[in-house]
């Protein structure tokens, strides 16, 4: 291939491949805020005296878990959403909490909550059924 042709091809590729700002991200801001708020209100609804009671099926004991940090990333799963947060027990050991939400008439309702069980989410991520919300 002649050199000018190679150079021209590279330049065209450069021009076409320059990063373009995507303003569409702003549209999802409200939804993300509302989803985060919905997750926070749901966790809040689960708390008793500031702690979320969780039944450890292995030991058969109830454990108090304290909300510490919400994960900023929101994932979609078809028409549904998955949000994650972090709980800690009294000893400070972190324990994830995954919330599966659905949009019901403009209101986000949590239809499943997984505490300390991330394997369903990981399985779906492996299968590509879950991806970040843009």
């Amino acid at each position: 291939m002649r050199f000018p042709v190679v150079v021209a091809a590279l330049c065209i590729t450069l021009a076409g491949g320059l990063p373009v700002h995507a303003d569409g991200a702003a549209d999802s801001t409200a939804d993300k805020v509302r989803l985060q708020a919905a997750m926070q209100r749901h966790i809040d609804s689960l708390t008793i005296d500031g702690a979320v009671l969780h039944l450890d099926l292995a030991s058969g004991e109830g454990i108090e878990l304290f909300p510490t940090q919400a994960h900023p990333m929101i994932m979609t799963m078809g028409d549904h959403f998955v949000l994650c947060a972090e709980l800690k027990d009294a000893a400070g050991r972190p324990l994830p909490i995954d919330l599966y939400m659905a949009d019901t008439d403009g209101r986000f309702v949590t239809f499943r909550t997984e505490i300390g069980n991330r394997s369903p989410l990981q399985e779906m991520m492996k299968r590509g059924q879950v991806k970040p919300l843009r």
Binding site: P19, A30, Q36
Partner: protein, 834 residues
């Protein structure tokens, strides 16, 4: 005026560290053109992707922070409502809760609305709310109560835009900086890896180009450039080796070219000398600078230059080789040398145009020797005059100088008379001196333009050019005869010779040079026959005689081969008894086509040509045979046979022949008579006398024929063994004249007869034709008679019959002396035959 030079191209001045060559910079530019997009595109994509992820994370963090805060505020507000506190306190608590949202700088303002009345229940910041603030997103959050109140949060995403801007700037800085670093690193790498080795390679190539010698480039790496350098150095090394071999080969060739013992030179197509060998320069004496660049023809004499143009340059221009063209070459000192020039036209593919290579061989010495040999071949070494070849060469050159205006050339053919006698008598040294002296006298008589030659022996020739009249040549001939007639004093020996000169004139219109000389020779021969010491001018009759002589010579030859010769016999009668005592054999030639030829015509020519020897042998052999046959049949055992002997026959071969004949017939010697003439006695008298004595010792008798007509001298009879004298018939015929006229012949006959009687020599009278003369002759004392009166010459058969008729009675009365000869022969003349 010199043409304007081409404008110099201005090259950009590069720093030395980066200056390689325009082409090398272009090479890097090309690399950069590939490098920039190749770097920018993936870097841009990567940075954009990172920025996008970062902005996404920032967006997520913003929404998470606001959402969590708003959700907790909404939950707290709900719980406050559930506490049942008063309206005002609840509003204040709600106001404070909403105010906590303002702790996040992204939140511009927040409002609480009643679900039933749609009135705003609270507003933060109080009283001003979102006035003057840029609101990007407003989020409405229900409080999940029966009154369906809701919180509305107004927020700005400026921090995301700000973050995006900063990310862009950072990406641009990273891109530009990365690109600059990449380009710089690439340039340094290019310079170190490619540029510097290439520069070294280029420098080596340029030095090699300028010096013509191999230059090696420094070798620093084993990469592709290094391998190129190694390959270049290997090529240079091989080329250096090849160049060394070529240089050595050239030196060897140049040495061979210069030491080759031949004159070598080369010219271009225009004939301008391009190279010469040392040998060429040595031979000519020129310096090389005197020759190179000059036309080769300039070093040739004018005549040779013409030959060079026509026989050398023209064939070479046609592509033909030239071999051994004789030329002359000028030396620097003005002398010339002879050369043989060979040349080829070199049109080889490597030649810049056509060139001619010449090889010359110096043949000056050879030419000199050749000229000496030619001079020797054309010159008589004794007299230093042109010899026959040289004279003929002059004659051949004469037509080129053909005179005009009716002028003639004359050729004088000079033969010294009696030279042989002097040579034989005094020896060759005297003979040579005589020739030298004669040549000198000839020289003194001719003009400088005339050419004298010694043709051989005592023969000289002169060619006189441009004569106005024939008399000039005849006067010259007379002068020559006169000068040569003056006796020569040859160191005490006085030699007298004369000259016979033949003259032939020519205007070269019809005669060839050889023919003119032959004409002069014939004329000289005629002068000899005319008695010598004279000159004869050639004319047609002389030529005809020569032709006739040639014809007779041919007839003699053919006659000998084809047996055209025969013998006739004439009887010799005893004057007293009338008996036949002998017969003389006479040779005859009868050509079947040309008729008979008399002996007077062919004998002289046979003597000239030497054929007489063979004829003599023929006559002797055949005569003896016939004599024996005749004698047996007719009781003629006493007849003798007389055979004529030519002077040229008198040699050893004759004696051998006679010995052979006598060996077969021992008793024949006394019946053989050899007749000689007085002329024979004049030539080589001592030798002749010795030979005649030897013949006589064998019993053979000698007869002196034609006595009285030649150089008759009594001393001949005294010194030579003569048995018979034959008086010439001219004397006998005079007896038929009147009485007064026959006194003198009678006296001479009588004296001869008396002399014979005194010396015991028989005397024969020839030519007896009348009976009246018989008595006269008998009275004079003549013993024997011969003539037509008795018998004409007759062949053997006729002789046989004649003898049978005449001697039948004689055999019966062999000793009867009384015979009337006159009466007998008068009445019985024999029938002539043959």
């Amino acid at each position: 005026m010199a043409a304007a030079s081409a404008p110099e191209t201005t090259q950009p001045r590069w720093p030395r560290w980066c200056r390689l060559d325009g082409s090398a910079n272009w090479l890097f530019a090309k690399l950069a053109l590939l490098l920039v997009p190749g770097f920018v595109i993936p870097a841009s994509i990567g940075l954009w992707s990172l920025a996008a992820l970062d902005m996404e994370a920032a967006h997520d963090r913003l929404t998470s922070r606001i959402g969590n805060a708003a959700g907790r505020v909404a939950a707290a507000t709900r719980r406050i409502r559930d506490t049942g506190i008063g309206e005002t306190a609840m509003r204040d608590a709600e106001q404070e809760l909403l105010g906590t949202l303002l702790a996040d700088q992204a939140v511009r303002c927040a409002e609480l609305f009643s679900g039933r009345t749609r009135d705003r229940l609270s507003l933060v910041p109080p009283r001003i709310g979102c006035t003057g603030e840029a609101i990007d997103v407003s989020i409405e959050l229900p409080l999940d109560g029966p009154d369906d109140d809701r919180v509305v949060v107004h927020l700005s995403t400026a921090e995301i835009a700000l973050a995006r801007q900063s990310r862009r700037e950072l990406a641009l800085i990273m891109l530009v900086g990365g690109l600059a670093i990449a380009l710089g690193a690439c340039w340094i790498g290019f310079h170190l890896i490619v540029g510097r080795p290439l520069e070294s390679l280029l420098q080596a190539i340029r030095l090699s180009e300028r010096s013509g010698e191999a230059r090696l480039a420094p070798h620093r790496s084993n990469d592709e450039i290094g391998r190129i350098t190694v390959a270049f150095n290997d090529m240079q090394t091989r080329m250096q080796a090849d160049a060394n071999r070529l240089r050595q080969a050239f030196l060897d060739l140049d040495r061979i070219y210069n030491i080759t013992p031949a004159l070598l030179c080369a010219t271009d197509a225009a004939g301008v000398v391009t190279s010469v060998s040392d040998h060429w320069l040595t031979a000519t004496g020129f310096a090389r600078d005197d020759v190179l660049g000059r036309p080769l023809a300039r070093f040739l004499p004018a005549a040779a230059a013409e030959v060079y143009e026509s026989r050398v340059r023209a064939p070479l221009a046609r592509g033909e080789a030239v071999v051994d063209v004789p030329l002359r070459l000028k030396r620097r000192d003005g002398t010339e040398l002879d050369i043989l020039l060979s040349g080829v036209d070199d049109r080889g593919p490597a030649a810049q145009g056509s060139s001619r290579l010449f090889v010359s061989t110096d043949i000056s010495d050879l030419r000199s020797a050749e000229r000496r040999l030619e001079r020797l071949a054309l010159t008589d070494p004794l007299c230093e005059l042109p010899n026959r070849r040289g004279f003929l060469a002059h004659l051949h050159a004469s037509p080129g100088r053909r005179p005009v205006g009716g002028m003639l050339d004359a050729v004088l053919f000079i033969d010294l008379d009696n030279f042989k006698w002097i040579n034989d008598t005094y020896g060759h040294q005297v003979g040579d001196k005589l020739l030298l002296a004669a040549a000198g006298r000839l020289r003194s008589c001719v003009r400088p333009t005339d050419v004298i030659a010694r043709l051989g022996g005592d023969e000289f020739a002169i060619i006189c050019h441009g004569l106005q009249e024939r008399a000039t040549a005849t006067r010259l001939a007379d002068e020559l005869i006169g000068r040569l007639a003056v006796p020569f004093d040859l160191d005490g020996v006085k030699a007298c010779v004369s000259a016979s000169i033949g003259i032939a004139f020519t205007d070269w219109e019809n005669e060839e040079p050889d023919e003119v000389l032959r004409f002069a020779d014939l004329a000289m021969y005629t002068a000899k026959q005319d008695g010598k010491n004279t000159h004869v001018v050639y004319n047609g009759a002389i030529g005809q005689k020569a032709v006739e002589r040639a014809r007779v010579r041919e007839l003699i030859r053919d006659g000998l081969e084809r047996d055209w010769f025969s013998l006739v016999y004439q009887p010799i009668i005893d004057a007293r008894t009338g008996r036949i005592v002998g017969i003389e054999a006479l040779l005859r030639l009868a050509c079947p086509t040309g008729g008979p030829l008399g002996p007077e015509r062919f004998i002289p020519i046979a003597e000239e040509t030497g054929q007489i020897i063979e004829l003599g042998h023929l006559a002797l052999t055949r005569g003896v045979t016939d004599l024996l046959a005749v004698g047996q049949r007719h009781c003629s055992a006493g007849l003798y046979l007389a055979v004529n002997l030519s002077p040229r026959q008198l040699d050893d071969r004759l004696e051998e022949k006679l010995d052979a004949v006598l060996a077969e017939q021992p008793g024949l010697a006394g019946r053989l008579v050899l007749e000689i003439t007085e002329t024979m006695l004049l030539q080589r008298p001592d030798d002749v006398a010795r030979r005649l004595h030897r013949l006589r010792d064998r019993g053979i008798r000698i007869a002196l024929d034609d006595f009285g007509t030649g150089y008759s001298s009594l001393s001949h009879i005294q010194h030579f063994p003569v048995d018979i004298i034959k008086i010439d018939k001219s004397f006998i015929r005079q007896l038929s004249a009147g009485a007064s006229s026959r006194l003198r012949p009678l006296a001479m006959i009588r004296a001869t007869a008396s002399l014979g009687q005194e010396l015991g020599i028989d005397v024969v009278a020839e030519g007896v034709e009348e009976a009246a003369t018989i008595e006269l002759l008998r009275d004079c004392g003549i013993d024997l008679l011969q003539g037509y009166l008795f018998a004409m010459p007759m062949d053997r058969l006729s002789l046989d019959k004649w003898l049978a008729h005449r001697h039948a009675a004689a055999c019966e009365a062999a000793h009867d002396p009384r015979v009337d000869v006159a009466a007998d022969w008068t009445t019985q003349r024999p029938v002539l035959t043959g």
